[in-house]
Symmetry: C2
Subunit: 531 residues, 2 copies
């Protein structure tokens, strides 16, 4: 298909940082920038040196780091009204950032110029012209963000277009049409972009927000109508409802419209990169994210799962491997026999659809689901449950007794937690005690200490995520909680789940499963089939 | 604008139930159906009686409940290949559901007919014809879902269109174009819908999935090109990446395109309904959901917040009140002075932007953010922090000492948790002990018992949500955790936050804040200004 070059402009570190719950440390920003360069976006908009000292420090630090694929961009605004460009502090700090590329925004909506900037329409044009000419005279590549362009165009098309023409005359390398409030319909974007492409021409960009859920479609339809530069954030974070989600836009451009926006092999890194950036951003990557989410290729309906076995194209628009994601079959009441059989056969290949074992496992799953368990995303626990139900399970240890004590003493604010534990391994009785950060941690330590004596490989195991979900919140702190634990030994990750009215006990159930899972896996590695 | 009538078809209880983490009890289904009827969607597709006994029971129960605005729909498929319609069990159970409306899906994609159904293209057309004629002869309103219509059209347009024409001839009241795999571009939907509207005509529907992030745009552009029936799920849940999100589609149709799809006054109930349905579905309503999310009208950037004060239209595409949502200003390092001043002035109207107090509060916020606190969505804690920092805060009680003991005894699986607590209120020393479901609950009970003696109104307070976020998961169970608690007294809800390496202590910090917040609010209600 088309060979027109499309530029991906990532603003995770600038516009993305406006999102609720997002705040990047200096180290976070460097990590994200390196990840974005690695996957190969064209531009990384990384901060606003004029408004944030942390960002200025970031740009200094980045001079020591060589980017292979991406250009670093500093963001700012056109000069203030009625002042000389040399005196504008925002423009000064933009230059201080010493990036080859700068992005500045200016107003395209007459109402914003008059009511928010409180200046004249003419002066606003001067601000755009002066700022761009000044930055070009310093040999910057200049990207002009036409703020509120679409709302501006709907209110006063002549003026909105005029801001673009002025920017272009002044030397802007790209003029970007921003749907700043995110309320523009895809059909409106289509029609307005057509006008701009014919009347303005040159390199046109698009910057969409997701306030009516159309940011991705709006960005793609803009490309289909001549835009060559797309601004967004890698996992869609951003103010209010977020920015255009690049992890959905990139594969659609590449796999469905035939543009090479990043290196072909890097599409394989899409899911990994999205997970990594969400990890650094300290937010959970949504399971239902297009292409990269954990549920994006997860199948639950029995009929669908059967069809997938016949031909994955039945219920998948692409193969998950292409974007580095995985196909999953969810174990649940509606998932049907096929899924459960498939899970069982992973461990006991000989068991068939007709075996009694399948029914036993299904019933056990239903019992536990009734108690509040959910097995979707807790593959570790499912495997243990299958082994235990089918009765070929040999326990590694028995937890005889434990006690936790937490105390805030009279005269300090200090809180101490202690745990005593008694386990039996291979007939040997082992008692340990440990202090910890709270009862769960104390129990975890005591349990590991007891078991590491027998199973040294447990030293490699650590917990990478720990989630608590209140099931019946009406019952307040006495509510039933489901604890989901993700563990790793550095090579493999696995998740286990525990349910109890007590967060400590629920955690312990998941912890014990996590340890047992690790021990089984190790034995299996040693002697291919353990049972 | 247009007065063409648009039908909203909600499938939360059928296709939505295919989503990961979604499983509805019978009671859940009834609650959701009532909520959907209340807001006034045209159709409620509530289950598949042929595949799920729970659904059959649901349809029986629903005969006792009178719906005011919506028609209940039972879902099934066309008859099996090469059998007599009277012998098809799926069709039989469809009739058993005794709904006035039924939706049945049939295949439109030749590849699916040949490879998945393993029958002939001709027999597939017979299956569609027989099934619809049979259901019409029983006086049902019949909605025909043309599965994989768009993929089918791209592979073999003649055949895909033929399935629609056969369905229409057989008497289908609506034929629905399904993007079953969710991989169709908005521009493709636009072009293909145009063809169908002209070549098939009649009542045409659309059913989109969100696998490339376009389900909302695809549904809207279909309406703009002549479709009059939209299928989706109220909060966008569904298999893989979910179904078209009706809580975004409804207000866009109503507020931006001028259709009255639900009663005008019910648009005010949109956010409440979305929250309620997500509560019943036991999933968190995403903060960044268009229109109804907690962040949908949340402002963080200082510059934006200043502009919002001048004119909300600056950074909002509609006013949040219209859809029953709220505008929020997020307290954070980038939120700027205005937000903090605004928060302070809520309590101390006299304090100005220039006062020293503003700086004191800002610094305290930054210190705590550094320790791992996040104040976004913890308005209760922010208010207490302002009061404490500005030094006009009189503590209601002092927590002198507490101790928690958790124990699993030797011979049972029982786990017991006990807490001892000692508080001083107005010089009086009160010691209490309580058993609970784990240490947090035991402490909560003991603390309430101690305080309710002095503050009986605490009996009204209960916890409605309890979130635990691991901040530095590398540290495993010893990681720093942030606990966010949402409390209610039945009238007002408030959120408080606590951070510690110990989940018990973090919870206690948030609990104490929650109680203090309640006590302050009550005093304020009594004597307008307390300080």
């Amino acid at each position: 298909m088309s060979n027109r070059c499309i530029e991906i402009f990532d603003s995770t570190l600038r516009d993305g940082a406006q999102g609720e719950d997002i705040s990047f440390s200096l180290e976070d920003k460097i990590k994200v920038a390196i990840a974005l360069d690695k996957i190969g976006v064209s531009y990384i908009e990384a901060g606003n040196p004029g408004s944030n000292p942390k960002d200025m420090e970031f740009f200094k630090k980045m001079k020591e780091i060589e980017l292979k694929n991406s250009k670093l961009v500093a963001f700012g605004s056109t000069r203030k009204a009625n002042i000389n460009i040399e005196e504008d502090n925002n423009i000064k700090s933009l230059l201080k950032a010493e990036t080859d590329v700068v992005a500045i925004f200016g107003k395209a909506w007459d109402f914003q110029v008059l009511k928010i900037l409180s200046t004249t329409l003419e002066e606003n044009l001067n601000m755009i012209r002066d700022s761009i000419e000044y930055l070009k005279s310093d040999n910057k590549e200049v990207i002009f963000d036409s703020e509120h362009f679409f709302d501006g165009y709907k209110a006063n098309p002549e003026y909105a277009i005029k801001t673009l023409l002025v920017a272009k005359e002044a030397g802007a390398d790209v003029v970007v049409l921003c749907d700043t409030n995110g309320g523009t319909l895809t059909s409106e974007i289509e029609n307005i972009v057509k006008v701009v492409v014919t009347t303005v021409g040159g390199r046109i960009g698009i910057h969409c927000h997701n306030d009516i859920g159309m940011a991705v479609s709006n960005s793609i339809i803009a490309v289909e109508n001549g835009v060559c530069h797309i601004q967004g954030t890698f996992i869609g974070v951003g103010e209010r409802c977020g920015n255009a989600n690049l992890s959905a836009i990139i594969p659609t451009l590449q796999l469905k419209l035939g543009y090479e926006v990043i290196l072909e092999e890097n599409i394989l890194e899409l899911t990994k990169t999205a997970k990594y950036i969400s990890e650094i951003s300290n937010i959970k990557l949504l399971d239902n994210m297009p292409y990269v989410g954990a549920s994006a290729f997860a199948h639950k309906g029995g009929m669908h799962i059967d069809a997938i076995f016949k031909n994955p194209g039945s219920y998948e628009h692409i193969s998950p491997e292409i974007v580095g994601n995985d196909r999953r079959f969810l174990v649940s009441e509606v998932s049907g026999k096929s899924t459960i059989v498939k899970e069982i056969q992973k461990i006991f290949p000989s068991i068939t659809r007709e075996s009694k074992e399948v029914e036993k496992v299904t019933n056990r799953l239903k019992e536990l689901e009734y108690e509040g368990y959910k097995f979707e995303g807790a593959e570790g626990t499912v495997e243990l449950l299958i082994r235990k139900t089918i009765g070929k399970y040999k326990p590694f240890f028995e937890l005889k007794h434990f006690k936790t004590i937490g105390e805030k003493s009279w005269n300090t604010k200090e809180f101490t937690s202690t745990a005593l534990i008694n386990v039996i391994v291979e007939g040997k009785n082992k008692m340990t005690a440990a202090e910890g950060e709270g009862p769960v941690n104390a129990l975890d330590k005591a349990l590991r200490e007891a078991l590491e004596a027998f199973y040294p490989q447990l030293k490699e195991v650590r917990l990478v995520d720990y989630k608590v979900r209140v099931l019946d919140s009406e019952s307040a702190t006495g509510a039933k909680v489901r604890v989901l634990i993700e563990s790793t030994d550095g090579i493999e990750n696995w998740s286990t789940v525990g349910v109890s009215r007590d967060v400590v006990q629920a955690s312990l159930i998941a912890l014990v499963d996590s340890i047992e899972y690790k021990l089984i896996k190790d034995i299996e590695k040693k002697l291919k089939t353990y049972f």
